[in-house]
Amino acid sequence: MSTPVNAEQAWNDLQRIRVPQERVYDEVERRASGAPGVAYAAAALMWVFLAGLGLGPPRWVVLLALAAYVALLSVLTVRYASRSPMQLHHSRYNRRMSVTLVAGVVMTGATAWLSGRLAESLEPVLAGLVQATVSAAVFLLFIGPASRWAAQSLRGHGEQVAR
């Protein structure tokens, strides 16, 4: 059986493969930089949760609020993901995505803890408002650039996987 394509056609086919794959990474980067609504919604949920804690509710209310916060955050994530026109294959994700996620959680948690400590001398309700506002602001400042930074690295990683 003879080779169905010559080397030049094979080379052109290999180049052709890259074009639709670039479209996928374009979409991933577009979504990483163009979804401020979700970030604002997540920040608003965080603000309400942390400000609510500042009221000094009993332990069972704190646990209930935490469960509600996690549930609403999950709903937000699922709704955002369901609106996506595609989902990147798991083999195309890289370590930078995990690092960004962990860094986001650590930074937000550390900010909430630190701002809570710094505002301890204030009245509890006011301290809660300060803690909530500072934490939500840091989250909003972090999430945009971090998402773009992580998403931009996927294109290069995808090319390595494809090789």
Partner: protein, 118 residues
């Protein structure tokens, strides 16, 4: 010269190769996203998808109803293996000919086209 192992005649046509290449990068993709990314018509894409579906290379799921109806397309394990084998076969062909020689040929042909120009 023999056909390299993994060369897949079903994936080889340009449109199907582009569809499978796009799907290989994703877990799933919307019909509309594939259509717009590859600048295809609905009917042209449907035809290619059904050919690939019949071969067991991809799965098509329809979700929702009315205006919210979505068609999700996913490459199966078989399709993914076939695509990877096909890419490996294309690389083997290029490497067999010597990639420098191929690149020189492509560059010369492009230069000829440019000189012929409109």
């Amino acid at each position: 010269m023999s056909t390299p192992t993994g060369f897949d005649e079903l994936i080889h046509p340009a449109t199907r190769l582009s569809v499978v290449a796009l799907l290989a990068t994703t877990e799933w993709a919307d019909f509309a996203f594939i259509r717009d990314s590859l600048s295809l018509s609905d009917s042209a894409l449907s035809k290619q998808l059904h050919t690939l579906e019949e071969a067991g290379y991809l799965e098509i799921h329809k979700e929702g109803g009315g205006r919210k109806r979505r068609t999700k397309v996913r490459l199966t394990d078989r399709g993914r293996t076939a695509f990877e084998g096909h890419v490996a076969a294309l690389r083997a062909i290029v490497e067999g000919a010597g990639s420098t020689a191929v690149l020189t040929g492509v560059a010369e042909r492009r230069q000829d086209h440019a000189e012929a120009g409109p």
